[in-house]
Amino acid sequence: ACSGGDDGGDGDLTEVKLQLQWLPQAQFAGYYAAVEQGFFEEEGLEVEIIPSGGDIVPQDALANGDVDYAIAWVPKVLGSIEQGANLTNIAQIFQRSGTLQVSWADSGIEEVSDFEGQRIGSWGFGNEWEIFAAMAAEGLDSTTVEIVTQDFNMNAFLQGDIDAAQAMTYNEYAQLLETPNPETGELYTPEDFNVIAYEDTEGAMLQDAIWADTDRLESDEEYEETTVAFLRAVIKGWAFARDNVEEAAQITLEAGSSWGPSHELWMANETNKLIWPAENGIGVMDPAAWDQTVAGALAAVNEQDQHLITEEPPASAYTTEYIEQAIDDLGDEVDTVGSDYQPIEVTLNEGGN
């Protein structure tokens, strides 16, 4: 399923499969932009982006050899690595956690320590570890709250089934702001909510990263070359998405996102905020953030007394070698830091439409 033919210079493209962790949407704008703008092709790659649904675990698709690279959250992959998957983080695209815990403005839930005794929403699917890690840092154990699985929308929160709902800055939080308040008939505004950003807590964990197969990196030079080429194109893609937010949102809509246009634009903009500015260059791991993620993963215990991981991950769990190489290769061609990045203002319409 991997490289097809030698990547000779005569235009023979190397086939690459990239596994996403969800359906097409602006969260993955950089990859879709790289396809659409021909950045992958410039690098001699033909990239197939494979979306996933509820039960496809991207890092497993990678570990099984179904794909060549996968996008996944760090803590989930740490769990998989402990279970025996041999994977390496080759580019930490999102520098910050985008997870929020949202409650009503009058709920009195203002920080993690207020969770005690509350109904706390989470999607499950391994998205709950950040919550447990943040609570652990506050000395709360997971049995002091009631964890409620959220489904695909925020209705449970809006109807009062959940006291504090998990929300991504780029998605669910926008869903709230696209919903009319039945009392006023107007859309909800940020003032209606209390927002706890995990980025500001001890529990913050690293999210979307690009993962590769460790064994192949060690043994397959061609794969190494492909990896660097792939990363070069990805960097160009994300830089494009940063500099052309509206166009990037349009690209993901055309790639099959079913969100409304204002929602999609919001997502593209918020995703950019999680990436840029990238002080060490896009995708280069900040060791402190890595250590915090590992510490959180070690500390988190779920309500069934199960641990995400019980020991430090191996050294092979991440490397900056390839992303740094890619940044070097690009030189001045692309701004890989985005130090003067400025987000745009997005107005959400009802239903995201």
């Binding site: 097409p24 649904g53 509820g54 179904d66 929308n153 109807q159 039945p182 079913s258 409304g260 995201g352």
Partner: protein
């Protein structure tokens, strides 16, 4: 005449359900009917129970505000057609496997005893537990340039639900001929294949048809679940997930793919009913 009556009554039934929905929504409390702590009847907010007319009206509005957006019903219809195609393949695969198993079990009694309990048990394994495995194995199949398409994984998972009623129903049907008929064929020194062709399979038809209908419904359900599970993009399953995600701001939209899925199932059941009409000679014993 009788058909008209059925159609009118059926329509009345649907109107009745819509009436119940709106009636309850009108008189029921926002928070639903609670008995003690227990919510016995649902909430009546627009978020939980959109108006029937909103659901219908939403169908005719564009999916999103994008300039070239198609009306919602069109998108749902297109996706449903794709899902129907996949479900059909799943149904065909499941039916074939079910029939083969049934013939095997009918011919070899030990096989029946050994396999039947496991066939029953197989259906208690939740689909979602192995959907990723199927997709993973499928994605590695590549024969002479032909690559396993992702819809085929969906069809295979759907066939896992569809084969069951067929296997059980066909076995019952193949075992259903009167002894007098099988013995008659024995006096003709007929081969097992002849007995199968001339007696067992025709006699199985009345058992097979309900099994095929159940199988068709299962194939549709399996297809939708597998689409969601594996993240297949072009079917109703995907719309269900996506539009459910937009249900906070656009509650009526989430119902469109539900209607699509139901329509899908009804079309599948209708197709089997048609099959039944074609085979009515083999159902002469059945009470009408």
């Amino acid at each position: 005449m009788a058909r008209l009556r059925a159609a009118v009554l059926g329509l009345l039934g649907l109107v009745g359900v819509a009436g119940l929905w709106e009636g309850y929504k009108a008189v029921g409390p926002e928070e639903g009917v609670l008995v003690g702590e227990n919510r016995v009847l649902p909430r009546t907010t627009d978020l939980a129970m959109p108006h029937v007319w909103d659901m219908v009206q939403r169908l005719f509005e564009p999916v999103t505000s994008l300039g070239d957006a198609e009306p919602l019903w069109r998108v749902v219809l297109d996706a449903s057609v794709v899902s129907l195609g996949i479900a059909t393949v799943g149904w065909l695969v499941g039916t074939s496997v079910g029939l083969l198993l049934a013939v095997l079990m009918q011919r070899v009694r030990i096989a029946e005893w050994g396999l039947l309990p496991w066939i029953v048990l197989s259906q208690t394994v939740p689909l979602i537990a192995f959907a990723p495995v199927v997709r993973s194995w499928g994605s590695r199949i590549e024969i002479a340039g032909w690559e396993w398409p992702s819809w085929l994984s969906v069809a295979v998972i759907a066939s896992y639900l569809a084969f069951f009623p067929v296997a059980v129903g066909a076995l019952k049907g193949l075992q259903s001929p009167d002894r007098i008929h099988t013995e008659l064929l024995r006096t003709y020194a007929a081969s097992a294949t002849d007995t199968l062709r001339k007696v067992r399979i025709p006699a199985a038809v009345p058992y097979l048809l309900p099994a095929l209908r159940l199988g068709a419904a299962s194939a549709v359900i399996g297809t939708v679940v597998a689409e969601v599970s594996t993240g297949y993009l072009d079917g109703v399953g995907r719309l269900l997930v996506s539009y459910a995600g937009q249900a906070s701001g656009d509650p009526a939209k989430a119902w469109a793919p539900i209607f699509g899925a139901i329509g899908l199932g009804l079309v599948a059941a209708g197709f089997v009913a048609l099959l039944g009409a074609l085979m009515r000679n083999y159902r002469r014993g059945e009470a009408v």
